[in-house]
Symmetry: D2
Amino acid sequence: MIYFTSDYTTGAHPEILKRFLETNLSPASGYGEDIFSKSAEEKIRHACSCPCAQVYFATGGTQTNRLVISSMLKSYEGVVAAETGHINAHEAGAVENSGHKVMTVPQHMGKIDSCELEAFVKTFYGDDNHEHMVFPGMVYISHPTEYGSIYSKKELENIRKVCKKYKMTLFLDGARLGYALCAKESDLDLETIAKLTDVFYIGGTKVGALCGEAIVFTKNNMPEHFTAVAKQMGALVAKGRLNGLQFETLFTNGLYYENGRHAIEKKDRLVKILKEAGFEFFYESPTNQQFVIIDNEKLKKLSEYVDTAFWEKYDDDHTVVRFATSWSTSDEDLDELERVLKEVF
Amino acid sequence: MIYFTSDYTTGAHPEILKRFLETNLSPASGYGEDIFSKSAEEKIRHACSCPCAQVYFATGGTQTNRLVISSMLKSYEGVVAAETGHINAHEAGAVENSGHKVMTVPQHMGKIDSCELEAFVKTFYGDDNHEHMVFPGMVYISHPTEYGSIYSKKELENIRKVCKKYKMTLFLDGARLGYALCAKESDLDLETIAKLTDVFYIGGTKVGALCGEAIVFTKNNMPEHFTAVAKQMGALVAKGRLNGLQFETLFTNGLYYENGRHAIEKKDRLVKILKEAGFEFFYESPTNQQFVIIDNEKLKKLSEYVDTAFWEKYDDDHTVVRFATSWSTSDEDLDELERVLKEVF
Amino acid sequence: MIYFTSDYTTGAHPEILKRFLETNLSPASGYGEDIFSKSAEEKIRHACSCPCAQVYFATGGTQTNRLVISSMLKSYEGVVAAETGHINAHEAGAVENSGHKVMTVPQHMGKIDSCELEAFVKTFYGDDNHEHMVFPGMVYISHPTEYGSIYSKKELENIRKVCKKYKMTLFLDGARLGYALCAKESDLDLETIAKLTDVFYIGGTKVGALCGEAIVFTKNNMPEHFTAVAKQMGALVAKGRLNGLQFETLFTNGLYYENGRHAIEKKDRLVKILKEAGFEFFYESPTNQQFVIIDNEKLKKLSEYVDTAFWEKYDDDHTVVRFATSWSTSDEDLDELERVLKEVF
Amino acid sequence: MIYFTSDYTTGAHPEILKRFLETNLSPASGYGEDIFSKSAEEKIRHACSCPCAQVYFATGGTQTNRLVISSMLKSYEGVVAAETGHINAHEAGAVENSGHKVMTVPQHMGKIDSCELEAFVKTFYGDDNHEHMVFPGMVYISHPTEYGSIYSKKELENIRKVCKKYKMTLFLDGARLGYALCAKESDLDLETIAKLTDVFYIGGTKVGALCGEAIVFTKNNMPEHFTAVAKQMGALVAKGRLNGLQFETLFTNGLYYENGRHAIEKKDRLVKILKEAGFEFFYESPTNQQFVIIDNEKLKKLSEYVDTAFWEKYDDDHTVVRFATSWSTSDEDLDELERVLKEVF
């Protein structure tokens, strides 16, 4: 079986494991006060060219989203997201469980449009009864999105403008940020993202770490007593070194980018193989996730050899499935995929 | 100024005030254990031909919706409503504040369609990742809806079928139930509603009481220790007689229906007057709320004489406004409206 | 049966019902924007000599406590109360349900001591791990307390000092405030309470209204978008006139004080009657609630004639019960009590 | 500097890191469906002699406590704990943040007493107003406790009896369970704990893992759709292998017990060293945490050489500090401590 199921099927980049071994018995403070975390924070500030950024390490995307959103919103505020946004569709209602509404705007291959966003917010403020409605307090976007699409600098600037005009916080979910940063079509780097957002996170779990997401508060806007807030939610680990050391490693010698580039290179070959095999693309994304429309019968057969992820039903006879590459995708995997597609289909 | 703003601009039906006076100094137990509440519960069970119904009196529609929904859902479940459903659009996020997602299906003049509902639920269960999604645990409808429309018996039966098939609770918000029960187009009575829903409420505030909504659990399904649950939310009043006595009065000698019929009669005349004055209807509802499209300039002028409610922007030059009758609308109000429309426009 | 069970067994002061009758058909805006509420707010500001006070009318003590506490605390903060404080002991966990811890200090007949309060807070800040603990963000006191005791001006000033020093909000629950204001031993008036607290409420339900509590934010510190916040919790009534008109009446011609004085006078006679009948006092309070220790056998017999409230078990053979007078206690009630105690015991 | 600060200052047992290396590139399913987690679950069931146990891996003690407590309680229920219980004192209000009250009973070196527990619950049910109070729905104990003390089998049986009688769930927090299981004074093994509790957890973070706690539902009582419930709270990691593999390793060849025994052996020597140096014990526990009373001046000096944890203020001149051993405490650490204490003091 070959796995193109997701970017979290394997463990961690070997360099990370090596560092675990090297540092294993060095005593370190708990709860994020350890030297590895402190060093990782510094390296991330540097990578973002944002010397005053405040960094916090959480474990997992949903935990991170819930923590950031619920700690930054006022109780009467909700968060605006694309209909397909992860927080709206695939986090089991975590944001609502924390007390806040997810309000939706249309999605375009996972992205939101600044004009539609503005129209939505204007309608809210234009309604005489808006004190009986949920205030739009934050805009959530992901980059890359659920569909692997990415925002251009211009698009992000436009969204930022709307946020500024209506005093909404802009939060960018970067669960797979490494793959967006290394996409050839991308004109957004960490520095620009730090400038244009109020808070974002750099995903580790899906870009080569065993776990860990680095939340970056870019405007000196980390909520007060954030440690206590995170603790309340169960988002503070005793061995802060677990997340800290992984991010320290990822942000040393450009490993985070290396992981990103690797996945993008393999994705290019993946796309080529899929096209040669005659697959129809639902969306050919610039990042590591590729969506193809596949006949249900064919999918059944394919599943005997290749593991992919169900995405959505296309019609009664077809399904959209996702192929994902990652920092650990190997040429052997791709060779094997090529062989299977050629021989079996 | 004449008021057609809403059905909660005046006080209570005089019979209610009379009963307050008569019983004022009779001592009664607190927290809903008083004889007035007990008698009201019995009368409501009788009116619903549902001898085992459990009745609880809350104060206000949003309080009631939040209480019912949050106490009946499991933590991983959400409630399905029309996009325009009150809980989705105009309760400031009360349901989400209690931890649950409101999931939406399309609306048709405020109503949901059983086929679209089923399609929505099927998509959920058809998704391999549905453990990462919010489970549809309840369906919320209002009758009449936000637009004054009403469900037919057939439509309600169909919704019930979908609920049963997918084990969802069916909750009917009857904030204005009296006006639906008395609509000429209606083939749904209290008994049928009690049979077809799991829980519903009979609105008092908008149908002649100062406050109060009677929640009816129709299937012996009142959540355990409901008094404690309501208390936690601040939905238990010390002087239970306040709600109890009002409902006892409303369900004595058919006063609740009398209030309903009165509003419907006045609505008929209202519609006639509006039509004669050349108003274009956005929706001519069978109940006490009527929606007309009005030129913004004309609205400005009208507002000097008549108070109506802003509903939504129609286009840049037009607005949808609501005219509402109620149990207290008088012929003098309508005479005056007729005069104003004739003389001023 | 004679009722000394509580101060919420009867309806409303007749003047309130009279005003309901007089104003019943006057149209008024919804959601607290009506003229009665506006006038009541103004009268309360005047009564407190606090022209900038912001007033909000809620329905019921638990609702009010939950609303005030949850809207004023940050998520990482809890509220400090006496062990016997209503929010800690008798609100079914409403404050915790809103996400906040109730932290306790010892009680002295229901009151807290400023030194013990300071010791508690100092211990918190003296603990190196306090980021893993709940921050004391507010102090809750009731006046009168659960035991009918009252704070002196000096005591309240001392509590205020501690609050100020440690940046805690001071909230006074005045569910029975009228009875404290009229206690002969009291040196605290509304003006002083408004000065010394950050927020307090004037209880209506237990001092002659059918329902209603007036929250007074004394330092221009009403949380932003408080209407939306209250709506979320189900604490916004459509017919704001219900609460507004009652408070307007209570604060016209000193009716609130008249109600208070009446109960205190009747309490004096009650105490005399109980003493003459040989009852042992658990606590003889300066306000309308009196606590006596009674032999269980005797209590059984007494219960055939007089309704009182169980307070707590004293020992295996004795019980503490509460006798309460109110604005509506009559001399006939007391005559009858005197007769029963003389003839039966 | 020598570290006796806590049992989470170092990384993971080398065997765990070895296994990470060995399995790093093997593809595995996400979200706890991987083969490592499945194998770990099976090994834990075996170790507990509880073939029907349901196991879930979470990350961190507070996350685990919050998840278990909030998912097993009904909304009107609270959890009973010792005053010093971790959930009451040192989790920043996580349980309350999830909506539930922590109710306290007295502590005896961290333990609760079954008679005092029963008295507490009886008082609740004996109170006529208990529908206005928080229902005791669960009992939380930790083993070892905050003070390192352990329950005997008899004590646990007695607590279980009270729980059964009053229908309360019994939850045992085993953040440091390994150290209790290996204490010489212990007569409780995993099998007995599984029998006597409804749910407990086996702590990994503090017993040799980088992170991870294994929740064991012993009575086929895992809440429905627990994956979704955990996801909502941010307690579901994408790479389930992270926790799964660590527990698989800890429960292979008795590594978990080996870690426990190691710490207990080193604790024996620690106690001997501390006693020889004339330290006064606040509590000499049978497990890896030791509490000594130390003069503040002496503590200042000690802190230059040895890192310990502040526990609590003893009096104005003395402090209680904790020395902890762990699976990684070495004889070199202890030699050095012995030297420092001899030479410096």
